[in-house]
Amino acid sequence: MINQLARLGHKGLSKLAAFGRAGMILFQSLVAAPQPLIMFPLLVKQIYFVGVLSLIIIVVSGLFIGMVLGLQGYTILVDYGSEQAVGQMVALSLVRELAPVVTALLFAGRAGSALTAEIGLMKATEQLSSLEMIGVDPLRRIIAPRFWAGFICLPILAAIFALVGIYGGALVSIDWLGIYEGSFWANMQNSVDFYDDVVNGLIKAVAFGFVVTWIAVFQGYDCIPTSEGISQATTKTVVYSSLAVLGLDFILTAVMFGEL
């Protein structure tokens, strides 16, 4: 009994310590003494790996999600004789919810896991300690550019996702289902507000980018430096960041749209 209690306490304390380490990584790599000139080429390279290479999966899934939304929305709305509202439905659900959330989930699977595995392997092969030995701060050299890259890329990817999805929905509903083009776009433009919907969606994407990259980088940096440890850390990255994104999404939605 006492042993179990002690184990529980130990577990809680080590979780708390992990939070502390995560916070320290965040602070040391972002806030303390940024070096924009040295970081810029590294940042460009990371944006390439994290953002440009994620583009294909984002565009393809955005297109299909938009098309499915158009199709499903049409079959429901046609019963009420208001199939023109399908544009409004597709645009609002994409811009407010699906674009930031699905992008963040795909991003966690595509880029977050890669970040964790890369940093974890660097740790396992003692590249990080070698950097430290030659007087280069691995937090600034390795972690900070990856952090900023995730932070910058996710909103861009989410915006592309939303736009591609809306055009996918337009393709299905205008060209295949024969909704009048003018009312499709006019209904959409009447109901979507730039500041309330588009900007709030992008704010969500920024928050998700922050959380997903933070978790990915921390799990990589904090992993047990063995092949098993790296695999565990990669799994943890995907699981934790998906949960964090979905939970955070509810909170942000409640604050932004729920009139709290």
Binding site: K45, Y48, I160, F194, D197
Partner: protein, 152 residues
């Protein structure tokens, strides 16, 4: 060379993101930059605004000429006061124009329809539209109908 391709693709990526944002702004949300700074304000008092909300459109003969900016309760008159922003190039609304709250379709959103009167003077910034017609509230209509049925 490898670095150059990488830089170009990152640049293209960021430009694509910016373009997507512009597309979302202009094409999807219909953000209108040109009309927003040249509007004038007109007020109208309504007995009942029904489901009218801010950002609802103000139309004349079905053409949008502005939007509802703010709806407050006027304490002195005990009526709803609706503040409308009318586009600057629509400067020919006569002072005896009437405003009514209409509904788009059976279940659609509510908007304000303005019909122009006969006077020569036109509404200026801050003027009130005196002749107003309230929103049609379905419950009141049904109530009246039932009342008539009973009294017959």
């Amino acid at each position: 060379m490898r670095m150059r391709i990488l830089e170009i693709s990152v640049g293209a990526f960021i430009v694509a993101g910016a373009l997507a944002l512009v597309g979302l702004a202009l094409n999807v949300s219909g953000l209108n930059v040109s009309n927003s700074d040249q509007t004038y304000t007109v007020y109208a008092r309504f007995e009942n605004i029904g489901g009218l909300t801010p950002r609802a459109k103000v139309t004349m003969s079905g053409v949008a000429i502005g939007e509802v900016n703010e709806i407050i309760l006027d304490k002195d008159e005990l009526m709803a006061r609706v503040e409308m922003n009318i586009y600057g190039d629509v400067d020919f609304l006569s002072i005896d124009s009437s405003a009514s709250i209409l509904t788009a379709g059976l279940l659609g959103e509510q908007y304000i329809g303005i019909s122009v009167g006969a006077e020569d003077d036109s509404l200026k910034d801050g003027d009130y539209i005196e002749d107003t017609q309230s929103a049609l509230v379905l419950e009141e209509l049904i109530g009246k109908f039932l009342f008539n049925e009973v009294s017959e």
